[in-house]
Symmetry: C2
Subunit: 288 residues, 2 copies
């Protein structure tokens, strides 16, 4: 496994790989890897014969009051985990390599970024789409894998890739969960033991409404109320509970094909997100 | 020479060319070609063994009140001119191929786009940087040639390429002029015979101050006054006369290395631009 620190070197390697007809599959991360990230790496192996993982905590996607400085980092541990997965290249640049001064250019996707997490984090997706554009130009992948946990992010990136004609296949890989159902996240580390227990309400509320939908309850207001009731049973601050069209993120009144249930909740100072996604509603069952 | 209409086909051809170690040199145009464009094609031949020219009148860089609909087009003539120059591929997409609905993503360069032409055309450069990003992702060139006539455009694109780590070399080719000095432009066609004569003041005013600088007159206020005096000798509306740092487009008081003299003038309804650029001031001469 190779560790590449500079843009120039990474681009050269990507060119050589492409000239030799290799397929580059790419997993962008902010490091401090957990099983969720490793599942993305395993998915990547199905799409390319060379897997590149980037580790870069991107300042442009954090607001001034957010957790950029305390965002957890452990490169040595990450390196061993990726080595064990058989990753070929880690791209691990410094901030000054990615954002030399003066820096002036941003990529922005409208509409999709103005719902859900975009409401409380208005500049977040601009930072994400900008750094992903940069990383795609540096790593030159044929495909890139994103986690479903950040569903909105993956949808925004899909739209960007289509709009800007980036020749990269975007793959969305399923959420990986702790044994008690909490979606894996580097930020789970911030939770104290009680908060860690409380955090289970995110997934359990979603599981409950999934069951309700299977039982034919499709009205968004009822389903949202149930989620709110379960989440409010622990001390927390709800950022949003939304039931939306999974393509447009517009609110919907009645669950249908392609519906996203998404939530963001602050437990203590830690903002957690979770979601589930209904691609095809089993109509016979649910409309009975 | 091949004519490619779809994004998909162009990307496939670019991949094949790159796999076979060809160097792709690219000239993006809006068509209605003149000697200025052809000089860019000739420059491109020095940078690549395959030359791709795009012809696309990009709606995103026109404001609603501007001349999108009446912008001159003549694809047959363009095709013959490019064939004669030995161009390899024309990329000639429809608007619906480049901007399918829904369309949400824009690339924006701040600061540099807020001076000069950006003041009277605030959305223009956003349209330019977006379409150039798209075209780079479609044509996958090693190098791209832009004309110095649109100096600000080429500088904005250079900044975008650096910021977004696009692996494309940007080349700026000199202004080509009519025999009387008017910078070539597809928009010159809009001028009636008297306006066409009057339009000579753009270049003649720049030539006069170039001489003044050579004679050691370096104060921007004096030089601007002279340009204004010459241009105002014909019926016209001055958009701007600026003497700026050619990297940052900040106003400067005294001409120095790397100074750009730029102007935009409306003659009748036709907005014309011209500029000249001092890379190195010959100090012995000018400071005497």
């Amino acid at each position: 496994m190779e560790i590449v620190h500079t843009v120039n070197e990474m681009q050269k390697q990507a060119d050589t790989l492409r000239q030799n007809l290799h397929k580059i599959a790419f997993v962008p991360t902010m490091g401090f890897l957990h099983e969720g990230h490793l599942s993305l790496v395993r998915a990547a192996k199905q799409y390319g014969d060379v897997v590149v993982v980037s580790i870069f905590v991107n300042p442009a996607q954090f607001a001034p009051h957010e957790d950029l400085d305390k965002y957890p980092r452990d490169f040595n541990r990450d390196q061993h985990l990726l080595e064990a997965e058989g990753v070929d290249i880690i791209f691990y640049p410094r901030v000054s390599e990615m954002y030399p001064r003066p820096y002036h250019t941003y990529v922005q996707v409208s509409d999709l970024t103005e719902a859900l997490c975009g409401l409380s984090r208005p500049e977040h997706f601009k930072g994400v789409t900008t750094v992903v554009t940069k990383l795609f130009n540096i790593v030159k992948p044929h495909s890139a894998v994103f986690g479903q946990k950040d569903f909105q992010q993956s949808q925004v990136i899909k739209q960007m890739v289509i709009d800007l004609n980036m020749d990269v296949e975007i793959i969305r890989a399923p959420i990986v969960r702790e044994t008690d159902g909490l979606a894996m996240s580097s930020r789970n580390k911030y939770l104290d033991p009680q908060q860690r227990k409380d955090a289970r309400v995110l997934n359990s509320s979603l599981q409950t409404v999934r069951q309700m939908v299977q039982n034919g309850i499709l009205k968004s207001t009822l389903l949202k109320e149930k989620i709110q009731e379960i989440i409010s049973s622990v001390p927390c601050q709800i950022d949003y509970i939304e039931i939306v069209d999974a393509e447009t993120f517009k609110n919907i009144d009645t669950v249908k094909d392609n519906t996203l249930f998404a939530l963001a909740v602050k437990i203590g100072n830690t903002r957690l997100i979770d979601n589930f996604y209904i691609e095809l509603l089993e109509k016979e069952k649910t409309w009975q």
